[in-house]
């Protein structure tokens, strides 16, 4: 087991890298010796992140609209061209918006599915043929994908789809590549601020650990599933939620 959390010589492709969870995953992966292809919709945000990370020799940034299949292919090509291999894929890009199903427009539904589900499909498809044996995918799903989410039907449906897609890929890419999902609960950061403003105390009361999680805690669970420590885990979803949801 020794050295299993060592990503020296390994290459991670990470979408949604400029978000708080994405940035924490990038930072942790680099700290353990790996190289990262970081993608995000905003090149400005990627530039800021790359500057913070300060490891230009092991970082490639690519502006990336995950709703485009061609863009996913281009990211994979850029990764191979720069680093010569891909070992790991983490799909962190997502969009979380409020809308009840009764009032949701077609455009709102389509946009959420396009980013949260189509984007994961395009990236997994583009990377599948290129992932090195012993490689792994972790798709960032959500508590919403496990139990549904009031006022976020599009997001919950997409994340539920991500969970099923991950299990399907676990079959299709086995035995060379493992595929798992992480379902974060309430994690510190801008995304949960409206929820906390509306129902913060009630949500904390329902969380046995009585606090929000941190992006770093999601990152550590993600790296565990990518690492050789998890070499017999595939098709699994790991919830990082402090006990807020247990089934």
């Amino acid at each position: 087991m020794s050295g299993a959390f060592d990503f020296s010589g390994k290459v991670l492709v990470l979408t949604g890298a400029a978000g708080s969870i994405g940035a924490a995953i990038a930072r942790a992966y680099l700290a353990l010796g790996g190289s990262c292809v970081l993608t995000d919709l905003s090149q400005t945000a990627l530039d800021g992140l790359a500057k913070d990370l300060n490891t230009p020799d092991r970082v490639l940034t690519v502006q990336h609209d995950v709703t485009s299949p061609e863009a996913a292919n281009a990211v994979v090509e850029a990764a191979i061209q720069r680093f010569g291999r891909i070992d790991h894929l983490v799909t962190g890009a997502g969009l979380y918006r409020d809308a009840t199903v009764a009032t949701m427009s077609d455009a709102e539904w389509r946009q959420s599915i396009a980013i949260n589900l189509d984007g994961v499909f395009y990236c997994c498809r583009a990377a599948a043929a290129h992932l090195e044996p012993g490689g792994a995918i972790v798709n960032i799903a959500s508590l919403a994908g496990q139990r549904g989410s009031k006022d976020h039907g599009h997001y919950a449906a997409a994340k539920g789809g991500v969970l099923s897609l991950s299990r399907t890929l676990a079959w299709e890419l086995a035995p060379d590549v493992r595929v798992n999902a992480i379902s974060p609960g309430l994690i510190e950061g801008p995304m949960v601020q409206p929820l906390l403003a509306a129902r913060g105390p009630a949500l904390m009361a329902q969380t046995p650990l009585g606090r929000l999680g941190t992006a770093e805690e999601v990152a550590k669970a993600t790296l565990f599933l990518l690492s050789d420590w998890a070499s017999f885990i595939t098709g699994e979803s790991l919830q990082v939620n402090g006990g807020l949801y247990m089934t």
Binding site: M1, P175, P208, L209, A221, F224, S231, G242, G243
Partner: protein, 257 residues
């Protein structure tokens, strides 16, 4: 990861061989002081001595986990040596194969005594061990409890008896309930559901049944005790302090429960 568990005091039940020994060894290698508890004193002793010979901090304990007084005495002995237990791994378990055709007894052949014995060890054993270590963890406002469930606790597995399946399902209920009760004290409570792992217990079952499992497992092989140990090590580490009430399958994708 050597040194990640420095300062931790880890109690592993059923640590004399197989998955339990691998879990205990992984923690000892990571710097923890490890209490190797086994029903069989000779197995506990040889496992702990092997660990000590590698330069690890280890102590052998022996108790039938189904007997609360024996568990309390063993834990007291361990605490006296290493200090309060900061992580407990409930691994001790039995899976009798007393059926008339050589495998597990089907329900119509199973005696009440065998049923009761499996419940005592696999389920009550976890309860007694938790009772013995939880006061120390509550005082420290920190701790990890990891119990070994099974894929057989989540779905039908033909090689085990109903007693084993029922106790492994009960471990999941116990885990989730205690995650709720103990979360406010900073204690995480999780379970691992191993699939087919290459251990002495597995080799005691007919090989045709094992080969059939391999064929429907995405990773196309059995797991190793070390792979179960790595997940346990993650769950007792600082990396997983926001992970609680989880049941992690370490099964190569078998049945995807």
């Amino acid at each position: 990861m050597s040194g990640t568990h420095k300062g931790e005091v880890v109690l592993v039940t059923g640590a004399g061989r197989g998955i339990g020994q691998a879990i205990a060894d992984a923690h000892a290698a990571a710097g923890a002081a490890v209490l190797y508890l086994d029903f069989d004193p000779a197995l506990a002793k040889s496992a702990a001595e092997a660990a000590i010979s590698k330069g690890w901090k280890a102590k052998a304990l022996s108790a039938n986990v189904g007997e609360p007084a024996a568990v309390e005495a063993a834990v007291a002995e361990g605490v006296a040596a290493f200090g309060p237990v900061t992580a407990l791994i409930n691994n001790a378990g039995i899976s009798p194969k007393s059926g008339s055709k050589g495998g597990k007894a089907p329900v119509w052949e199973m005696g009440a005594a065998e049923w009761g014995q499996v419940l005592d060890v696999n389920l009550s054993g976890a309860f007694h061990c938790i009772k013995a270590v939880v006061p120390g963890m509550m005082a420290a406002k920190r701790g990890s409890i990891v119990s070994i469930s099974s894929v057989a606790g989540k779905t039908y597995c033909d090689i085990v008896g109903v007693h084993y399946a029922a106790t492994k399902a009960a471990i999941i209920g116990l885990t989730k309930h205690l995650a709720g009760e103990l979360g406010p004290y900073g204690i995480t409570v999780n379970a691992i559901a191993p699939g087919r792992i290459d251990t002495p217990l597995m080799r005691g079952t007919v090989s045709a049944a094992n080969e059939a499992v391999k064929a429907i497992t995405p990773l196309q092989r059995f797991g190793t005790p070390e792979e179960v140990a790595a997940t346990a090590l993650f769950l007792t580490s600082n990396a997983s302090r926001f992970v609680t009430a989880q049941v992690i399958d370490v099964a190569g994708g078998w049945l995807m429960t």
